[in-house]
Amino acid sequence: MFTDNYLSLRNSKESLAFLGKLLVDSKYQSLWEYDTKLLPHKVQKWRRKAKAFSQLYIRPLSRTVDIDPYTFDPNPLIQEATRWGFQTIIMPFPLGSAALFPYLRSTTLQVAVIAEEFASECGGLALLLLAHHLGVAPLLLSGHIPTWFKFLIPMYIKGAWFGKPTTMAFAITEPDAGSDVEDSIGAKDAHTQVTATPVKGGYILNGTKVFISDGGIADRITVFAKIKGQGIDSWTCFLVEKGMKGFSVGRREKKMGQRASDASELIFDNVFVPKRNIVGKLKGGWPLNQNVLNYSRPVVAAMALGHARGAFERALQFCNLHTYMGKKLIDYNEIQYELADMLIKLMSIRMTIWRSCAHFRAVQSLSSIAKVYASDMAVEVCKQAMEIMGDEGVAHEWGVEKALRDARLTQIYEGTNQINRYAIIEHQYTTDVAINNVIS
């Protein structure tokens, strides 16, 4: 319909002068490719690699794992991802596999780029692989060099050289403290229950964490706990290792979407954690937690983008394969209009995310803006994809309904979108409003 249109710019450019022809874009190249070329060379490579990995390893598992996540063994996939270098991409050499120079321009871009690719195939498996980075982030962001030497470098060597992954998880949420501990105003009154009691040589942890992604499979977990008798400002990050006495995994939650990744309850019953397992400084947990969230929100946004892109691509494929009243669906103007609308949203989400990743350090409001905008738009795009597919849109076999279920979680975790809005305005309040007050 469009390719043989003689009036299209690509087909009619022959009537232009030589230099004019050079100024016409006539490459048969997808928008994905155009976007990829905007990235630094090494990041381009990661994006292509992530796409290949997703198609090769994630796509075949996606639907079956969604139906039955409980008998799925995630280890082969994690091992393969480690071998490809994805499980250490949050850190540059010598701590990880991220490209160094792009990393010095943006610490989160490389993870965000692979997150989109993984999530476009399966939200659950993407979370399974990416939640590990959330567990690693406190170690990295603590800036504590002995911690890096003790944990990060051996983890990288073990994974990259010997192909043996170490899976990590990040534990902040508690039964009575969810969004509370994800914004600075609410945290003052948060009812956190996990406590650390000082004893000789270390601390005794008690309490329960819930909804911990990868909690059931992690070898090490970064756990946040307040010092007994003190408030949340005493929050400290402890590294708890699988097999520590008193530590156990409770129930695995039954989730609506992103089902391939577990969300488990972690029980700490008099778990002794030696002092050397404190991540960063004692009572340095709160700023660490906030900073980890700022780093992870653009990645969650990229996952939302991935879900939406997956839904869009499947709807596009559906419309190209199916006919209605003797005409391909994709040849109907109203379908084209809707697909274009979805693509506009995808592009705007991607630009927002990449813009939020354009700084070396994660910026609080930019990270939250990316997360809120991407997740809200992603849900809309998934719904649009379902709508144009009609009754087939709700069928599991096309994967579009799954994308909607997966995308819905991105509006909730890493702070609900409501909490993120507080984070956005908190930033503005402490900058623009404060500056105006001083001037006035």
């Binding site: 139906i67 949420t173 009575d176 403290a177 969810g178 969004s179 509370d180 105003i185 609410g186 003052k188 009154d189 948060a190 009812h191 819930v210 909804f211 939650e253 039954k254 989730k255 609506m256 979407g257 969300a263 199916h322 209605y324 009243m325 669906l329 109203e334 809707e338 849900v379 719904k383 649009q384 379902m386 709508e387 144009i388 009609g390 009754d391 087939e392 849109g393 709700v394 069928a395 599991h396 076999e397 309904e401 909607l404 279920r405 819905r408 979680l409 509006q411 909730i412 975790y413 609900t416 979108n417 409501q418 809005r421 507080y422």
Partner: protein, 380 residues
């Protein structure tokens, strides 16, 4: 309860047709609510978030006995006043009564409400054709090909005819449960025709896993030549589509209302940011908007007065578009009030999210309903 209902229904029959008052509708609402509390609530438990289908036949049997579910048999309790019973063909109040019952059922379980809805429609078309059937396990397919109905399919079916002598009509979708009989309405060269199978032996059903309303969606194939078709009038089909869409809208309201009540309860119990979350402004915004949307949706659905099938079809199309969209927003917002807990199966709100999005999409997604309404307006 069954005895009380039998007496009540007999009185209604003796009073004659078209005599439902507001008080009667209220009685039916109470009756359905009672049924939900005592029987239907057992259908969903922590091990079966989408419903325990092994106990469904007994629940269906009870719903038929007390006259909530309609059967196309003149001795059946719900024949006249059940969901889409005979009276809905002549009485606006009976339509309101059906919608109210569907809404109440949906507040406990949308899947069951949808099944009662589908059985009502199947029974209604049989009642119109004077065909008797004493079972309540239907398979109903209202259209052909892949997409939900376009204007041309519903109002000018002959332009969209399909070959009925084809032994296999592939990609035919429909809704039902453990079907004992099947009704397929297809447009043919002379208008609409109905294929009626009083046993499932001639139709091969393959269950399809879906987003919501799980266990009720099938892909069908005929495994023998179709020989007999029953012509049905455009009026019948318009009425059928109108009922179909109105019922979906009523079920959506039931889902939204129960999601809202759950969210309100949760907001009174959950402690965050130093107080129960009902005091948090962002939660109040979500709940306030939800309440307004529910009331708007109710007004939109129950505002019809038309008995003319074409006008009713118009109203139903508007309702399907607006009510399901509003209710979908309500459930999304209510789920957000629950935070992470809303995403887990324990609180039952995630099922409501899946169900409402499924209802908004099937049988004419908002995308197609907009075109349908526009084409109806253009034709006028």
């Amino acid at each position: 309860m069954v005895l009380f209902v039998s007496v009540f229904l007999n009185i209604k029959r003796e009073e004659g047709m078209d005599s439902l008052t507001n008080s009667d509708i209220f009685q039916f609402e109470l009756l359905t609510g009672d049924f939900c509390k005592k029987s239907l609530s057992q259908f969903i438990d922590e091990h079966h978030p989408d419903g325990n289908f092994s106990i469904l036949p007994s629940i269906i049997y009870e719903a038929c006995s007390i006259g909530i579910i309609t059967k196309a048999h003149h001795n059946a309790s719900g024949y006249d006043y059940g969901i889409w019973g005979k009276q809905t063909l002549t009485s606006t109040d009976a339509i309101i009564n059906s919608l109210t019952m569907l809404s109440v059922l949906a507040s406990t379980c949308a899947s069951f409400a949808f099944l009662a809805h589908i059985q009502g429609l199947a029974a209604n078309i049989l009642i119109q054709r004077d065909i008797e059937n004493n079972t309540a396990y239907p398979f109903l397919s209202l259209y052909n090909e892949l997409l939900p109905p376009h204007y041309q399919t519903v109002v000018h079916p002959s332009s969209h005819a399909i070959k009925l002598d084809n032994p296999f009509i592939a990609q035919l979708h429909g809704y039902g449960y453990n079907p004992c009989y099947a009704i397929v309405c297809v447009p043919d060269t002379s208008g609409w025709s109905m294929l009626y199978f009083d046993s499932v032996q001639t139709i091969l059903l393959q269950s399809i896993k879906t987003h919501g309303l799980r266990g009720l969606y099938y892909k069908a194939r005929f495994n023998s030549d179709i020989t007999a078709t029953i012509p049905v009038s455009n009026h019948t089909i318009e009425l059928l589509f109108a009922f179909f869409w109105l019922g979906i809208a009523a079920i959506s309201i039931g889902i939204a209302q129960s999601a809202y009540l759950k969210a309100i309860n949760y907001a009174h119990q959950r402690y965050q940011r130093g107080s129960v979350i009902k005091n948090i402004e962002s939660v109040q915004m979500l709940l306030g908007a939800s309440k307004a949307k529910i009331e708007t949706a109710k007004n939109a659905l129950f505002s019809f007065t038309a008995s003319d099938s074409y006008l009713l079809l118009k109203h139903a199309a508007h309702s399907k578009l607006i009510v399901t969209t509003l209710c979908s927003q309500v459930v999304t917002d209510c789920l957000q009030v629950f935070g992470g807990y809303g995403y887990m199966e324990d609180f039952g709100i995630e099922k409501k999210f899946r169900d409402i999005n499924t209802l908004a999409t099937i049988g004419g997604s908002p995308f197609f309903m907009k075109q349908f309404i526009a084409q109806m307006e253009m034709e006028e």
